[in-house]
Amino acid sequence: MTATTAPTPTRTAVTEPPPRSLVRDTAIVLARELRPTLHDPFSVVFSLVQPIFFLALFGPLLAGNLGDGLPGGAVWQWFVPAILVMISLFGSSTVGANLLFEMQTGAHERMLVTPLARSALLVGRALKEIVTLCAQALLIVLVMIPFGFTLHAAGAVLGLALLAVLGVGIGSFSYALALAVRRQDWMFWLVHQTVLFPLMILSGMLLPIEGGPGWMQALARANPLSYVVDAERSLVNGDLTSGSVLWGAVAAGLTAALGLAVGIRSMRRTD
C-alpha cells in the first residue's frame, strides 16, 4: 500500500470567490450529463428500440391497411415525422430514472452540497435532451431515406428545433416526477406508463385521429402532442407556412415552459 502523498492545495476557492453565473452552472451540469454519452455514443441507440419497432412492424401494417387513405399521402411521409415525436415521448420521458438512480446512489446529494444553483441542476439535465434527440432523429431519418422517405432541408431543421423544445419540456416533467416520487421510486414507472400510452395514442401518431369517435377527437384536441405531431408532419414535408406549424410551436413551447417551471420548483424544494 502506498502512503498518501500530500497534494498541497491552495484555498483560493474560498478567499477569492469565483463569480457564479447560472449559465456557467447550467453548462457544468449539461457537460456532466453529456459525458457518459460521449464516452459511449452507442447508448443513444438503446432508447430508440421502441420507436424502431413501431417503424419496422407497425409502419408496414399502416401501409397495407390504410395506404393512400392517409392524409398527406405516402405512408413514410406521414409516419416518420410521428416517430420523431415518439422518440421524444419514449426517450425524454425516461430521463427522470437517471436522476432517481443518482438520488439513490448519493451523487445527487453530493451535488446539492456544492455551490451549483438548484435551477441549474434541472435545466442542465433537461438541455441534454436537445443533443440526444437531434442525434436520434438524424439516425432515424438516415435509416428511412433508403426506404423512400424524402426530406425538405429547411423543414427538417425547424422540425429538429421543434423536437428539441418538446424534449426539454418532456424531460423536465420526467425529472419533476422523479423528484416527486423519490421516496417511492416504483411510482415513477407506474405514472410513466400510465401517462405515456394515452398521450401517444391520443396524439394521432399511430393512426389518424379523424377516424375515431367524437370523444377521442375532443381528447386529442386537448393533447399538446397532437399539435406537435401535426406541425412535425407539415415541417418534414416542407409545408413551413401551415397554421399547424404555429400551433405546434406554441404547444411545444408551452410544454417546455411549464415543464421547466415545475421541474425547477421541484428541484428547489428537494431536501
Binding site: 500500500m1 502506498t2 502512503a3 498518501t4 502523498t5 500530500a6 497534494p7 498541497t8 492545495p9 491552495t10 484555498r11 476557492a13 474560498v14 470567490p17 469565483p18 457564479r20 457544468i28 457537460a31 456532466r32 459525458r35 457518459p36 464516452h39 437517471n98 438512480f101 443518482e102 439513490q104 446512489t105 448519493g106 451523487a107 446529494e109 453530493r110 451535488m111 446539492l112 452540497v113 456544492t114 455551490p115 451549483l116 431536501d271
Partner: protein, 327 residues
C-alpha cells in the same frame, strides 16, 4: 468551525405521528479538531449531518458552519465544506476522473487546475490507473476513496464524513483511514465524522460526541469518557473455587475494586487504574497463598461507556425508524 445551539429536527411521518430525530443538539467543533459523532442507528447522527451540510433545514435551533448560518447563508457554507455522504458522491455512470474534474470546475477552479487537482487526488488516494474506469466498475473500497477525494477537491476547511467506512471490509477500512489520517495531517482540515464503529471513533477522533435518541449524552476525549464513565475490568483465574473465594473476600475489602463477581474458580471485578494496581494484587495474593493462574485487565471500550450511560449496548441499541425517516 461548527457551532450549533438547540439544533432540532422533527419529521412528520404520519397524520398524527412526528419523529423527533434530533432534540436540541449543542455541538461545538473548533478549527483543526477531529470529532467523531457516535451513536446507534436512529440516534440522529445523519439528520444532524444533513442539517450541518445545508441538505435539510432545522425545525428549531441554529447552526453556524465555517462562520455562516446554514439556513440564511447556505451558499457560503457549501463553498467551504467538503461532504462525503453515506452514498457514493461520484455518479455510477461517470468515469472516476471526470467526476473529480467536474467537482473542481463546480467549485470555481479553472479547467487546468481542476484537471491537475483531480489527478493529484487520484494518485494520492491510490486510484492511479482507474481514471477512465466507470464508477460502477470500481471496487467498494476504491469507490469510497473516490468519494473522499470528491469531498477534498476544493481543499475545504471542513470535511464532513457520514459513516465513511460502513460496508467496507476491515482491510479496506484500515486503508481508507490511513488515507484520511494522512490528508488531515497534511492539510489541517477540521474533520467531523459519524460512525458506529467504536474502534474507529476511539483511534481516529480527538473528541467523541455520543448521541442517543437525538440528544448528546456525552462529549469528551475517548480517554476521559472511558475513565469517567467506565473503569477497567479485572479478570482473575485461580487454581480452584476455594482460592477464588478467598481472593474475592480479599478484593471486597480493597478500596480499588468494585462489583466483585465470582464464577467458579474465576472472578471479575471493576478496578480503578487497573494496570498499575495489578502487581499490588499479585503480591497480596501471593502472601495469602492464593494461586493465580491467569490475570487480565481489560481497558474499557466506548461500548462500555455507552452501556454505562444508557444501559444498552451500542450494538443492540439501533432503531431503524428515525434514520429511515431522515433518508
Amino acid at each position: 468551525m461548527i457551532h450549533t445551539e438547540g439544533l432540532t429536527k422533527d419529521f412528520v411521518v404520519g397524520r398524527k405521528e412526528t419523529v423527533h430525530a434530533v432534540r436540541g443538539i449543542d455541538l461545538h467543533v473548533e478549527r483543526g479538531e477531529t470529532v467523531a459523532v457516535l451513536g446507534p442507528n436512529g440516534a440522529g447522527k445523519t439528520t444532524t449531518m444533513r442539517m450541518l451540510t445545508t441538505l435539510i433545514a432545522p425545525t428549531a435551533g441554529t447552526a453556524r458552519v465555517a462562520g455562516y448560518d446554514v439556513v440564511r447563508e447556505p451558499a457560503q457554507v457549501r463553498r467551504r465544506l467538503g461532504y462525503v455522504g453515506q452514498g457514493n458522491g461520484a455518479g455510477h455512470g461517470q468515469r472516476a476522473l471526470d467526476e473529480l474534474y467536474v467537482q473542481g470546475i463546480t467549485f470555481g477552479m479553472s479547467r487546468r487546475d481542476a484537471r491537475r487537482r483531480a489527478q493529484e487526488l487520484m494518485d494520492g488516494l491510490d486510484l492511479s490507473g482507474k481514471e477512465r474506469t466507470k464508477v460502477s466498475d470500481l471496487s467498494g473500497g476504491q469507490r469510497r476513496r473516490l468519494d473522499v477525494a470528491m469531498g477534498l477537491v476544493h481543499a475545504p476547511e471542513l470535511l464532513v464524513l457520514d459513516e465513511p467506512s460502513t460496508g467496507l471490509d476491515p482491510q479496506n477500512r484500515a486503508n481508507l483511514w490511513e488515507h484520511i489520517t494522512a490528508l488531515r495531517e497534511a492539510h489541517d482540515i477540521t474533520l467531523l465524522l459519524t460512525t458506529h464503529y467504536l474502534d474507529e471513533a476511539d483511534t481516529m477522533a480527538e473528541r467523541v460526541v455520543i448521541v442517543d435518541h437525538g440528544r448528546v449524552i456525552a462529549d469528551d476525549t475517548p480517554e476521559a469518557l472511558r475513565s469517567r464513565h467506565a473503569g477497567d475490568r479485572l479478570t482473575v483465574s485461580t487454581a480452584g473455587p476455594e482460592h477464588a473465594a478467598r481472593l474475592a473476600a480479599h478484593l471486597e475489602a480493597w478500596e480499588a475494586t468494585t462489583q466483585v463477581e465470582l464464577r467458579g474458580s474465576t472472578l471479575t471485578a471493576g478496578i480503578a487504574a487497573g494496570s498499575t494496581r495489578v502487581t499490588e494484587l499479585v503480591r497480596a495474593a501471593d502472601a495469602a497463598g492464593i494461586a493465580i493462574t491467569d490475570i487480565q485487565v481489560r481497558r474499557p471500550t466506548l461500548d462500555d461507556v455507552f452501556l454505562n450511560l444508557t444501559g444498552r449496548s451500542l450494538r443492540e441499541a439501533g432503531t431503524a425508524a428515525t434514520e429511515e425517516a431522515a433518508a
